[in-house]
């Protein structure tokens, strides 16, 4: 796939995906007759990350932090505004549409809501065949059947599933169908956007284990996007914490837990409930004041300074911190060392009122005027 001319950077063999200064800005449009761009929602605003082959990169953050947009922009499902995405030596952002489509075989996606991500009018066989046909894998019908049967076994679905439709399955099984659809193409990278958050607790563990198993058996590389830090930490080798469109900290999974450096990571960590009364009673909570600021109008300087209990009068409000390496972690905080050493103490933060952003993460979509049935 990767010909010599397409290699842009010196490819380090172990890095599968190299994202550089990726930005995705959605225009906010107003106006009755003519759309006027009145601003931009900076969903992703300058993210650098590398995903090592065969490992899992976990992206965690709260709603509106841009983690899903980042995942989609990485796969070129949402066109990035600027920046580079290098997949195994191939620059995706400038790739011609036809070549990009061929590349898609190597990078697949798993979605949050297994119901809405499956075409309700396709049965499982047709769902699984579609990708094979698109990429001309497997030649004839029998060969395809064989691939599909193997994939079903891998994700733990019975054969009788083939003739059935998505609505006839339980949530967990639907998610397995979604995984099978991604897997059937034999991808190298799988971007999983909240793969378990729509599922019941007991089913979540099944899917998490399945993802683990598949990685062990097939050597897959994952980018797992989730809001649940416990889940992300459980399956990831490296965890990146996002806040308002940018990475604030990136560290190996265990290190992130033992030595969180960024104040936001600490707050997030202390907010995740642990099913253990002893831990719950002992732990110190860092309660953040207020809500996430609007990504259309992010705070100046460090984006977290409006809610940060460690915010300092200098630098925080006017200088945007870059990711710096501190002992195996990368952290975007001016005062990380001082906070870690205990030199700086947390203080109380007054709440700023935050207006909810009009709609989800993609305001561009909102302008679709007609709803079905509204005419009748």
């Amino acid at each position: 796939m990767s010909t010599g001319s397409e290699r842009t950077t010196e490819p380090r063999d172990d890095v599968l995906v190299d994202v550089r200064d990726l930005k995705v800005h959605f225009p906010i449009k107003r106006g009755v007759l003519f759309d006027r761009t009145v601003g931009h929602v900076k969903a992703v605003d300058g993210v650098d990350l590398r995903i090592v082959r065969g490992e899992t990169y976990g992206l965690v953050g709260e709603s509106g932090c841009g983690k899903s947009t980042l995942g989609r922009a990485l796969l070129q499902l949402t066109p990035p505004t600027s920046g580079e995405v290098n997949f195994d030596g191939v620059e995706l952002t400038t790739l011609a549409p036809n070549k990009l489509r061929t590349m898609r075989r190597r990078m697949q996606m798993i979605f949050q809501d297994p119901m809405s991500s499956l075409d309700p009018r396709q049965n499982v066989e047709s769902i699984l065949t579609e990708g094979l046909q698109t990429h001309g894998i497997g030649g004839d019908r029998n060969a395809r059947r064989k691939i599909i049967a193997e994939t079903l076994d891998q994700v733990g679905l019975p054969r009788w599933a083939l003739s059935r439709y998505p609505h006839e399955f339980s949530g967990g099984q639907r998610q397995r169908i979604g995984i099978a659809r991604a897997l059937v193409l034999g991808p190298e990278l799988i971007v999983a956007d909240e793969p378990v958050s729509a599922l019941d607790v007991s089913i979540q563990a099944q899917v998490v284990n399945l993802l683990d198993e598949l990685q062990d058996n097939l050597g897959l590389t994952y980018l797992v996007i989730a809001h649940d830090l416990a889940v992300v930490r459980h399956i990831s080798d490296t965890v990146g914490v996002m806040y308002l469109g940018a990475l604030v900290e990136e560290a190996p999974s265990d290190r992130l837990y033992t030595e969180p450096l960024h104040p936001y990571t600490r707050a997030l960590m202390s907010a995740v409930p642990v099913p253990d009364p002893d831990v719950e009673d002992r732990r110190e909570r860092i309660l953040l004041a207020g809500d996430l600021p609007s990504p259309a109008n992010p705070p100046s300087g460090c984006r977290f300074h409006t809610r940060c209990p460690w915010a300092q009068p200098t630098r925080c409000a006017d200088e945007r911190p870059e990711l710096r390496e501190i002992g195996g972690s990368r952290v975007a905080c001016h005062w990380a060392e001082q906070i870690a050493s205990g030199e700086l103490r947390p203080h109380k933060v007054s709440v700023e009122v935050v207006r909810p952003v009009d709609e989800g993460e993609e305001p561009a979509v909102v302008s679709a005027p007609t709803e079905p049935g509204s005419f009748v």
Partner: protein, 322 residues
């Protein structure tokens, strides 16, 4: 360590599986909708009405007792319009004569076919043109990027123009342009329903284009044109099909209205319910039944289509499933 007998384990597993699946083959959404349709009494009533109507329209004309254009009443001197004499029902003529001495029952039966033809053809015209415009606009807006939005905007402005005109005025102008005939009525009625279908399909397709399974297909590498045809379009059709059924009802009524206004077939030799209604107008004082027969027939047929359409809307609504 647990101990469990094979038989018992089987029983547990079977019980557990019972909840998960009740039959062997998968049930598609269409099959499922049809099943729920059958359980809906309104749908059954609508279907019965329409079946009768269809039967009458298709085979009825072969069994009518008299020719629909045979002016036997005048020939036999029974009907004397000048003296206000139009006999009503009798053993030979179940619904009596009309003002030209023709057998009303025969005309009603033969008229059913014409009426059905007008309704179906008019709806087909509307559906075909509307779905084409709406489908192209919807696919372009949902998947096409900047060019797509331009195509969509252009098509929709045209539809807005159609929509801005009062429907009857639009129909009258078309009829005036083409001259009065049955074809004119069909085209006019069809054109009126074009914006309805176009907007409905476009809106539905745009909504579907934003769904996750379209994103999933894109990430599989499926071509946009195929996504539009294989995923977006089939999932957007349900409201359009419902609308088509409902439009059949209004088309019959509108066609009757146009015929009543004299824009229909000027040669009343081939009977059509709307034309019959129009023809009955001068004789309302003498024999109102002449207007009531076709009017009631139109109402019942329209009701049948409406009942079925509403039931289909319910059956196809994904929110009402389960």
């Amino acid at each position: 360590m647990t101990i469990i007998s094979g038989k018992k384990r089987e029983k547990i597993d079977r019980l557990a599986e019972l909840a998960a699946r009740d039959e062997e083959r998968g049930v598609s959404l269409w099959q499922d909708a049809f099943r729920r349709l059958r359980r809906n009494p309104a749908a059954v009533v609508g279907a019965v009405i329409l079946t009768v109507f269809l039967l009458v329209a298709i085979v009825g004309p072969f069994f009518v007792p008299y020719g629909p254009t045979d002016t036997m009443g005048i020939r036999e001197g029974v009907v004397k319009v000048g003296q206000g004499l139009i006999p009503g029902h009798s053993a030979e003529h179940w619904l009596g004569y009309d003002h030209q001495g023709r057998d009303v029952f025969s005309r009603m039966i033969v008229g059913a076919r014409q009426t059905l033809l007008v309704g179906v053809v008019a709806t087909m015209i509307g559906l075909a043109i509307g779905a084409l415009i709406g489908g192209v606009a919807g696919a372009a807006a949902g998947l096409g990027g900047r060019w797509g939005r331009w195509v969509d905007a252009t098509l929709m402005r045209f539809i807005d123009m159609l929509l801005a005109m009062p429907s009857l005025l639009l129909a009258v102008s078309i009829a005036a342009l083409l001259g009065p005939s049955l074809i004119t009525v069909m085209i006019a009625v069809g054109m009126v329903s074009v914006p309805v279908f176009a907007r409905l399909l476009r809106g539905s397709m745009i909504a579907q284009s934003n769904s996750d399974y379209v994103l999933a297909a894109t990430s599989l590498g499926v071509r946009k044109s195929k996504i539009a045809l294989a995923h977006v379009l089939p999932n957007s059709l349900a409201p359009v099909i419902v609308q088509a059924t409902l439009t059949l009802a209004t088309a019959i009524i509108e066609a009757a209205a146009l015929s009543y206004l004299g824009l229909g077939n000027p040669d009343s030799a081939t009977p059509e319910w709307g034309v019959m209604l129009a023809d009955a107008q001068p004789w309302l004082g003498i024999r109102p039944a002449l207007a009531i027969y076709p009017a009631v027939a139109i109402i019942i047929t329209a009701l049948g289509f409406t009942l079925l359409g509403e039931a289909m809307r319910e059956a196809l609504d994904p929110k009402l499933r389960k």
